[in-house]
Amino acid sequence: MSKMYYRELYCGTPARYWSGLALLGVIIAIGLGAAYYMEHNGHWVTGMSNQIVWGLPHVFAIFLIVAASGALNVASIGSVFGGPLYKPLGRYSGLLAIGLLAGGLMVLVLDLGRPDRLIVAMTEYNFKSIFAWNVILYTGFFAIVGIYLWTMIDRSVNKYNRTVGFAAFFWRIALTTGTGSIFGFLVAREAYDAAIMAPMFVIMSFSYGLAFFIITLIAAYIWGDRELGDFRLTKLKNLLGVFVGAVFYFTLAYNLTNLYITQHHGIERFILLDGGIYTQMFWIGQIFIGSIIPLFLLYSPAFEKSRWAIAAASIAVLIGGFFQIYVIVIGGQAYPMNLFPGKEVVESGFYDGQVMSYVPTLPEAALGVAGIAVALTMVAVGARVFKVFPETLED
């Protein structure tokens, strides 16, 4: 195998790079403005309420955080599982993981009721809370992936690469387990309170993270006018197909379990049949766009060599994944909690027994999109400053 050279990524024309970066800057500025607007006025200006307490910002944040740990998979396959074809992609895998996590965390923190008290979250820990563990897991992820990148880039510490790679791999599994457990540990709501949430989030992260990785890798190599071989891309494509199938399997297992349990028939009926927008998001968004279309694009012989089919499948996985998290986070809250089994709520001073509506507002969306922009900005700057991308990835 010939020697691999890495070089800073320059776009074909400087104007393309700087205008792209400026656009991302504008998106981030709008998002920060939206966060200030929501913080200054209070959350009543958002679509969130005392019934739907987590809204669109949380969907974006969870989506990005889950994708972040998945984006690290390519590096893990290269250095932990010894996949030589993946090894040259390790640096970018680490950079993308850090970027996505930073974007997700920014959204999460700026949606807090008191973001100014972040220092409290960093200094006061309730170790029974999975949220507190996540604070440690998220900040630790930056440190571990940072060191991991160092061992990949700096030859003098390269001998530690495998050890650090192992640590990073286990850390990322713990991180997504922790994120899934946010829902898994909620005894109150029928849509949650299921141990399957943790492994399901892990497999979701594999899928979304790889989709993010593929689409940004293709884009980077087009913008940088560099060679990206079909063989390597086919490997990634096949892997994505397996992950999409695995997410579908977990979705099936989760819903079939609930369909068996009489107590959970209500929430299943809501998501699968008569939940309005949530039912549509599940069938059209999660299942059709997020599973069926990508599986078709990835496995159909007609698209065997089509780069555009791989890109389209990756985008479909991301759109479907976004809907999946939307259905989990918002759909799970919109369905009323069953406080009084066997009884119907005739009147309530606080919406008991009612399906709650949630209409996201523009500032919430602006903050969420800014999270993606932060991730892409970090990637764009990181790839230009550091030697992240191999000069060529031809077969």
Binding site: E39, N41, G42, H43, W44, S49, N50, Q51, V53, W54, L112, G113, R114, P115, R117, L118, V120, A121, E124, Y125, N126, K128, S129, I130, F131, A132, N134, V135, I182, F185, L186, V187, A188, R189, Q333, M337, L339, F340, G342, K343, E344, V345, V346, E347, S348, G349, F350, Y351, D352, M356
Partner: protein
């Protein structure tokens, strides 16, 4: 030779020292006295593990159309609506139920159930949600970061997030935008030795007496005696949270 000695003038030193001590004492004393006063206050009326405060709500006595307890709670704690029911704070709410099989109707009030094992306390990342030794579940408004995980975790929908800036607050309940809050079991009254919550008082004044507040740990309290002699239930008893609020005739 009045002062030929090489020893320092101790008188002068004493005077300076005395002046410093006096100034210091004047500066510190009010604080010390206040601290002593607050310590003695805590000793006399703070949380005491001997007690477990709770409530019993008799569904048969909860009158249709009555909102006396809700109004009293709002007045006591300075809760004011902003004309936005989905985001306005609610500490206590009436709920009317109908049995799906028999058609029997019930009315009751729901609030924080002051669980022995509160899910809100379990999930709170910063220890802002906490349970006092006397069983009252509260939110420390200085620690709450407004993540709302407790609201996701509470099986009783008992908590409200403050969606806007507040004015004209009640001294009984300091509150703030961006934090979560819920029924305090009128902890300010309990700590002042007033063994009656605002909702209970209002309900009794209306002549319904559907709410009974008291010490669940004291076998001689009215609430304990009633609980012992009647068949009360906990809402969502399946979760085994051992709630401090119980219901009769549900």
């Amino acid at each position: 030779m009045s002062n030929k000695c090489d020893q320092p003038n101790m008188d002068r030193r004493k005077m300076i020292g005395g002046a410093i001590a006096a100034t210091g004492a004047m500066t510190i004393a009010p604080g010390v006295i206040l601290h002593a006063a607050s310590v003695s206050d805590e000793a006399s009326s703070g949380a005491d593990a001997k007690h477990r405060w709770g409530m019993l709500i008799d569904s048969n006595k909860c009158a249709d159309g009555c909102s006396a307890c809700v109004d009293a709670c709002n007045t006591e704690h300075g809760l004011k609506g902003h004309g936005r029911p989905a985001t306005d704070a609610v500490w206590i709410r009436p709920v009317k139920l109908k049995d799906k099989q028999t058609g029997r109707e019930n009315r009751l009030v729901m609030m924080c159930q002051h669980c022995e094992h509160p899910p809100c306390v379990d999930v709170c990342p910063t220890n802002a949600s906490f349970k006092r030794v006397d069983g009252i579940v509260l939110v420390d408004r200085h620690r709450c970061i407004g993540c709302r995980y407790c609201m996701m975790a509470c099986p009783y929908k008992a908590r409200s997030f403050i969606h806007e800036a507040l004015t004209e607050q009640s001294v009984n309940a300091p509150r703030g935008k961006g934090c979560v809050e819920s029924c305090t079991l009128c902890v300010h009254r309990v700590d002042d030795g007033v063994m009656q919550t605002a909702c209970q008082e209002a309900c009794a004044e209306e002549g319904h007496a559907a709410i009974l507040f008291g010490d669940l740990n004291d076998p001689n309290s009215e609430i304990s005696k009633t609980l012992k002699s009647t068949n009360s239930v906990q809402i969502r008893a399946d979760l085994e949270l051992n709630t401090g609020v119980r219901y009769l005739n549900l």
